[in-house]
């Protein structure tokens, strides 16, 4: 039966052409930049929208409805891909209402859930039914993208039946029949089956993350493990493994969690988050070697150029990242920046005795910081220490690897930067309870000054160590003296305040400053004493060592050397007493940073 080319045919032809153009651009889109892709998407969506307005210009009619719904689908896919969710949602709502009009039902509700139920029911077993289902898929995608998981839960049974119908529908019947049906029906930008699959796994991931966030780990775990069997791209499957691992880690099963992370990595080698999470578990387990290994891998992975975009988005306009935008998930997937990973690596290496390696990492880090390509990009709070501290740590690491000259260069840098800004006198206030607003304002100002002074002093101290290392005792004494001179500029505000060294309760910043100050005083005095001892100036040495013990009694080195000096001075009883006392001290405190200093 011949029919003259009607409007309907013209429109469906137009739709099909547009879809083909879209698909061509998508297919050839591997090399094209993100910008280009966006602009072509924009063009497509506007074209589809134009067509849709033409079709919707006439009252809804059964003959047109199929085409109309297909165009709505295409338009909505384009809109969603550009994150224009509200526009897409509006189109869907209008389309459902028109469906209801066609089937002779009246829609007098604005609640989307009710509307959808009514729409599905009225479409019933007509030819429209699959198309309405496709639209429901899109609605699902929109809810997922907007993290409205509860809506999805509401329509759970519709969704599951939808999955069955959509996934089975195409495979159902003989291929020729299906082909014939397809050739008649208008083309779609994205295959509904693929969309449904994508939605299923993304929903599982999002729900899993949500549950994990709420502490329902075991529940989430079973869901996620079920989801990992779903057909999906590697990256998404890797996410399910990763989240399973997180659930297990949360349930205090680190080894099983590690297995999961490993599976995730095996599935998708770019899953840096799995690496990061494993590193955290190694750290938790105290497996330093593995932790270092993981950190190194993590860093090198992060440093890889993000050259090729994951292929998963290649053909589909809707990318998983669009659908997985929930807060709890992004928190679970977040990975620190390459620089902070590198810093952790360097610090870990030095602390675990792999100093040479650590030094290399420190130098890499500093080079990266100074490179032209480094820019203050990451807005998140950096986990890096402040620059002078970084310099000092690097310098100390260099000294450990017997490169005192390089170390001194670093220290010189710090000194030249900070020394000019060190005030003549710094008042360090006792951390009191009732700090008024005024005092606080002052202390913020003063805090930086104290930090400046401590940095400069620490730099001198390390330089002194360098000279001591070179057995240039005279120079060492000079630098230790400079350090001490700086340190005595700090005045404690409360005179009768007894500086107590215990590092246990140093939560307050000033307490920490004070602790550091005392420790540095102790160290510098002790080492000047040691240097004097080396130069056979025993009296000065004894004075310094005793002062050091006063300032920082926990430092066993001072006690031992003090005994030594006393012994040499012939005060053997005192020496013995000193040694005895020193041994009796159980020194277990390990304060990370300044232990590195010596």
């Amino acid at each position: 039966m011949y029919q003259p080319p009607s409007l309907l045919e013209k429109w469906s032809q137009e739709n099909n052409e547009l879809v083909n153009k879209c698909k061509q651009q998508e297919a050839g889109g591997g090399a094209v930049s993100q910008d280009h892709r966006q602009s072509s998407l924009r063009w497509c969506s506007s074209e589809f929208h134009k067509l849709l307005r033409k079709i919707q210009g006439i009252p809804p009619h059964v003959d047109h409805s199929q085409l109309e719904l297909a165009v709505v689908y295409n338009t909505c896919v384009c809109f969603t891909a550009q994150s224009q969710f509200s526009e897409a949602e509006l189109l869907l709502k209008e389309a459902t209402e028109r469906v209801l009009q066609v089937t002779g039902n009246n829609a007098d509700t604005s609640d989307p859930l009710v509307l959808w139920r009514a729409g599905l029911k009225s479409a019933g077993n007509t030819a429209l039914h699959p198309h309405v289902l496709y639209l429901l898929c899109l609605q699902w995608a929109l809810w997922l993208a907007k993290c409205q998981l509860e809506n999805i839960g509401e329509l759970q049974e519709q969704m599951s039946s939808l999955c069955e119908i959509v996934c089975d529908g195409v495979g159902d019947g003989s291929p020729s029949e299906a082909k014939g049906r397809l050739s008649k029906s208008p083309l779609l930008v994205m295959e509904p089956k693929r969309l449904t699959e994508l939605l299923q796994i993304c929903t599982s991931i999002a729900q899993g993350a949500e549950k994990l966030n709420e502490g329902r780990s075991s529940e989430a775990l079973s869901d996620l493990q079920a989801a990992s069997a779903l057909p999906a791209t590697r990256a998404l499957v890797a996410y399910t493994h990763l989240l399973s691992g997180s659930c297990l880690a949360h349930m205090n099963r680190p080894q099983m969690a590690l297995q999961c992370y490993k599976k995730a990595l095996e599935t998708d080698s770019r899953c840096v988050c799995a690496l990061y999470r494993s590193m955290l578990i190694y750290r938790q387990l105290g497996n330093t070697q593995a932790e270092i290994q993981a950190l190194r891998l993590l860093h090198s992975t992060l440093m890889l150029p993000p050259a090729t975009e994951p292929v998963l988005g290649g053909i589909q306009p809707l990318s998983p990242s669009l659908l997985l935008s929930s807060q709890s998930l992004s928190r679970l997937l977040s990975v620190p920046s390459a620089l902070s990973v590198l810093y952790s690596l360097a610090l870990k290496c030095v602390l675990s005795g792999r100093v040479t390696e650590g030094v290399e990492h420190y130098l890499d880090l500093l080079a990266a910081l100074h490179s032209e390509d480094q820019h203050a990009v990451d807005a998140e709070v950096s986990v890096l220490p402040r620059m002078p501290e970084l310099y000092l740590e690097a310098g100390t690491a260099l000294l450990f690897t017997r490169r005192p000259a390089d170390c001194m260069a670093f220290c010189n840098e710090v000194i030249s930067t900070t020394l000019e800004l060190v005030p003549e006198k710094v008042v360090l206030e006792e951390p009191e309870e009732g700090i008024g607003g005024d005092a606080r304002g002052l202390s913020v100002e003063g805090e930086d000054k104290v930090a400046m002074l401590l940095w400069a002093a620490a730099a001198y101290l390390v330089q002194g160590h360098c000279h001591a290392h070179l057995k240039d005792w005279k120079q060492a004494v000079t630098h230790y003296t400079r350090c001490i001179n700086l340190l005595v500029k700090v005045h404690l505000k409360n005179r009768d305040f007894q500086p107590q060294i215990p590092a246990a309760d140093v939560n307050v910043k000033h307490g920490k400053d004070l602790c550091t100050l005392q420790r540095m005083k102790g160290l510098s005095l002790a080492w000047r004493g040691i240097s004097f001892t080396q130069m056979d100036q025993l009296r000065e040495a004894l004075r310094d060592l005793q002062l050091s013990l006063q300032a920082f009694p926990d430092y066993t080195g001072a006690g031992l050397w003090c005994g030594e000096v006393l012994w040499r001075l012939g005060r053997k009883h005192e020496a013995a007493a000193c040694w005895e006392k020193t041994w009796s001290l159980t020194t277990q405190t390990s304060v990370e940073r300044y232990l590195i200093l010596w």
Binding site: E372, H375, V377, A379, S382, Y391, E420, L421, V422, P423
Partner: protein, 866 residues
């Protein structure tokens, strides 16, 4: 020409100085690029001294930056950022120049050059390979970083970071809009720590050609302002000045850094730069200038407040004038206020610091330096730039764009101002002293002018205050309705006949008594409007009222103002007439016309008019009484008609009396002779006695006199003729003529002789017991108009008489008063008909008929007032 600037106009381009952001970009060899806020960018070649190329962009240009090494410029348009390869363009330009030499080549920049598709980028900055854009998005300022490609061929500019700063409510946008100067967006500059450049060779080339928006700051100041970390990271710092007055900084290469506020000028920032360059090439002073002239100088203060380390000293001050644009050289800040180009020497302050130890004095000195920028006498400069090449002699050359669209080279004289002043020749000294003296004279003159203006304004305000008080007083009067005697400002009138040039004329004398506490001064005047009571006489509708006004000159409290105005010559006035007087205050007479026009445009014609009183001058007021002795004398002098009238009066009076007897019940009798008319009013003698009693009782032993009917009639007549009704009083005649009889002969204002007689008669049925004693007031005249007028007047008098007795009046009397009022109205109508009859030019027959009807009507209305 010592101490003067040489301005040389290099080029003129079609551009009208609007509120655009104009920018001059130097450093491309001999080319200078000028963007004027329109779609065009002009390329001016210094070598050829002309505009060689015009670049045409798709949208208006906001900002322009260049990369000298690669000969690239980035242009921020409304629609995005475009990259233009100058080398390529200029080569093409040169090749095309062979044929077309004179006119500049026009090059259209196509959409292909678009590298960043961000809208409304207000500022651009290029730091190494990073392109920074600053734009306002909704409620925040957005600083975005783009990576420029190494190869110039590639166009991809990858965004790799952006920083937000919330917008605060703009500082006084209105003022900024109204400012006619060029509109400023934001300022972006880059600050390098001084010691960094030496070590990193990559920037050495950029340093050699001093970039306009890159500055090298002394390391200590850099550390103080931007922190140790930025210094250790050797990071350049981006400094941006925003239209809301904030000065923000961002260490570019420090991980985790964010945009922070360094300072706030509290007015749109229009220039940020660094100056006071030492031998090492490090600037010691950071300068930020706001649009309205606030300048912040940021320096290192070596001696901190508490004897501690160095601190950054912020010195704020205001320089005169709006700052339209600015530029810096090694020691000075140049800026244009539009009216002048000014130079601020920043070295002075720093020298002072070295000589003096204390910090306060330093800031004082710097602030003083801020106060006194030296003028360079170049006006209307809207954009400034310092070209890289300065002549060896130490001259400073600036490039400027004037508001008229001229590219100018401004050569400043060598040597600083203070050095010049120390060795000025004596002639110049004397000249400058003369200048100063004349300036002082000018100021003095102006001050005295201002003083008088203030004085007159005060005076004016005082007068206005008086005016308001007086009007308040009078307004209060109208509401409270005080009796006329108690009003603070009141007036009364007297009529008097005078004889001038053998012609009698009636004049009205107005007495205004000021018993208010205010002086009626300049600006006040008394306005008296005289208009006939009956208006029908003027058929064409023209108002026959006359207006007199008398300005006051200081009528002090308690004083009385007297004004006499002629009402009518004998025979040509229509009585009764209404006299309304009001006080008028006019601004224009106070200030002078032009001043009012200038300052009170809306008020120009209006003045305040405060009505004082309105009263009626009637026939009784206008009567000229004849004493019996004087009648003959008068008759000889009077025109014959008047004499004849008097005779007739005499004759007719007798006849009337007879007729009165014959026709009792009727109030008047018609005589066979038509010339004689009479009318009469009857009033119950009881009432008359009652009403007149209070007056008489004071000076006479009243009982007897009032009982006597003869006395009663006499006193009524007296009362009628001389009584002060509603503030109008008949003039002195009343006193002169002692009324001996109850008959008064008079001449009306129209010259007609008339007789007014009062006698007691008895009306009512003779046989009835309650015979009412009645007083008849009879009016007789040969002139109908006179009879009517006088009748009306008598009725009015009697009405007021009765009103004054209303306290005693019973309800019956009220009815009679009503009747009286009706009669009065009727009389007024008749009056108008008569004057209509005389006024209109109609045939005598018609007139007679009219008059006759009036007369008959008069007769039909008997009136007895009981």
């Amino acid at each position: 020409m010592e101490g003067r600037c040489a301005v040389e106009t290099w080029a003129q381009f079609g551009f009208s100085g609007g509120s655009y952001k104009v920018k001059i970009l130097c450093g491309f060899g001999t080319d200078v690029l000028i963007c004027t806020g329109t779609e065009e960018i002009y390329v001016f070649s210094k070598r050829e001294r002309k505009i060689t190329t015009v670049l045409l962009l798709p949208a208006a240009v906001n900002d322009l930056v260049g990369n000298q090494d690669k000969q690239l410029i980035y242009v921020a348009c409304r629609s995005g950022v475009y990259r233009v390869n100058l080398q390529f363009l200029l080569h093409r330009d040169q090749s095309s120049q062979a044929d077309a030499s004179s006119s500049p080549a026009e090059l259209k920049i196509s959409q292909e050059c678009l590298v960043v598709g961000a809208d409304e980028v207000s500022s651009l900055l290029l730091v190494g390979s990073v392109l920074l854009t600053l734009c306002q998005r909704d409620a925040s300022w957005l600083l975005t970083l783009y990576k420029t490609p190494k190869q110039t061929a590639s166009t991809s500019h990858k965004e790799f970071g952006s920083f937000n700063l919330p917008v605060v409510s703009a500082v006084d946008c209105g003022a900024a809009e109204s400012n006619r100067g060029p509109r400023k967006g934001s300022v972006l500059i880059c600050i390098h720590s001084g010691d960094v450049e030496a070590s990193s060779p990559s920037n050495a080339s950029a340093e050699s050609t001093v970039a306009q928006d890159h500055f090298h700051l002394e390391p200590l100041l850099f550390k103080l302002l931007f922190g140790v970390e930025a210094a250790l990271a050797k990071s350049p710092v981006i400094l941006c000045g925003l239209p809301d007055g904030r000065l923000c900084f961002l260490p570019l290469r420090l991980p985790g850094s964010c945009l922070r506020v360094l300072h706030s000028l509290e007015q749109p920032v229009c220039f940020v730069g660094a100056s006071v360059v030492t031998e090492t090439g490090h600037a010691q002073c950071l300068v930020a200038a706001g649009e309205q002239g606030r300048v912040a100088l940021i320096k290192t203060d070596k001696a901190g407040p508490e004897g501690g380390s160095a601190v950054a000293a912020f010195t704020e001050g205001c320089v005169p004038g709006p700052v339209w644009c600015g530029c810096m050289d090694k020691s000075c800040f140049y800026y244009s206020t539009g009216a002048d180009l000014l130079r601020l020497d920043l070295l002075e302050g720093s020298f002072a610091r070295e000589s003096k130890e204390r910090g306060e004095e330093t800031s004082g000195m710097t602030a003083a330096a801020l106060q006194s920028p030296s003028s360079l006498n170049v006006c209307r400069v809207i954009a400034l730039a310092e070209p890289a090449c300065s002549t060896a002699a130490g001259d400073v050359q600036l490039l400027g764009v004037s508001a008229r669209g001229q590219l100018q080279r401004i050569c400043l004289p060598a040597g600083r101002v203070d050095e010049g002043s120390s060795k000025l020749p004596s002639t110049q000294v004397s000249r400058s002293v003369r200048d100063l003296l004349s300036a002082i004279g000018d100021v003095c003159e102006r001050a005295s002018v201002l003083k008088t203006v203030i004085k007159s304004k005060n005076q004016f305000l005082r007068l206005l205050n008086h005016a308001v008080s007086v009007s308040f007083l009078l307004m209060a009067d109208t509401t409270t309705d005080l009796p006329i005697k108690e009003k603070p400002i009141r007036c009364h009138f007297e009529t008097s006949w005078s004889r001038l040039l053998q012609k009698d004329s009636l004049s009205l004398v107005c007495f205004l008594h000021n018993s208010s506490p205010f002086v009626l001064e300049r600006g006040w005047m008394l306005s008296i409007t005289v208009s006939p009571l009956s208006y029908s006489s003027s058929p064409a509708g023209e108002s026959s009222s006359t207006n007199f006004s008398f300005p006051f000159h200081d009528l002090r409290p308690g004083q009385t103002f007297e004004a006499s105005l002629p009402i009518a010559a004998a025979g040509d006035a229509s009585f009764p007439m209404t006299v309304s007087c009001s006080l008028i205050f006019s601004l224009s007479s106070l200030l002078g016309e032009e001043e009012v026009a200038a300052s009170f445009a809306g008020l120009q014609s209006s003045c305040i008019s405060l009505p004082l009183s309105t009263l009626t001058v009637d026939w009784l007021h206008a009567l000229q009484l004849n004493s019996p002795t004087a009648t003959h004398k008068m008759a000889t002098v009077q025109p014959s008609s008047a004499a004849a009238d008097s005779i007739q009066t005499f004759l007719s009076s007798r006849q009337l009396r007879c007729s009165g007897r014959t026709n009792r019940g009727g109030e008047s009798a018609a005589k066979p002779e038509p010339e004689k008319y009479s009318a009469s009013v009857w009033v119950s003698s009881e009432i008359v006695r009652d009403t007149l009693k209070p007056k008489k009782s004071s000076n006479l032993d009243a009982k007897e006199s009032i009982r006597d009917p003869e006395d009663l009639c006499l006193s009524l007549l007296e009362r009628l003729l001389s009584e002060d009704t509603e503030g109008v009083k008949m003039g002195c005649q009343g006193d002169k003529i002692a009324l001996s009889t109850s008959v008064a002969h008079a001449r009306g204002p129209n010259g007609a002789a008339m007789k007014l007689s009062v006698k007691e008669i008895n009306v009512g049925e003779e046989e009835s017991t309650d015979k009412e004693a009645t007083i008849e007031v009879q009016i007789e005249s040969s002139s109908l108009a006179a009879v009517c007028g006088l009748h009306h007047a008598v009725l009015r008098r009697i009405q007021t008489l009765l009103q004054s007795a209303t306290e005693k009046a019973a309800s019956t009397k009220n009815v009679q008063i009503l009747g009286l009022r009706r009669a009065l109205q009727r009389a007024e109508i008749q009056q108008s008909q008569i004057s209509g009859a005389f006024g209109e030019v109609v045939s005598t027959v018609q007139r007679d008929r009219l008059l006759l009807s009036v007369y008959q009507e008069l007769r039909r209305n008997p009136l007895l007032i009981v």
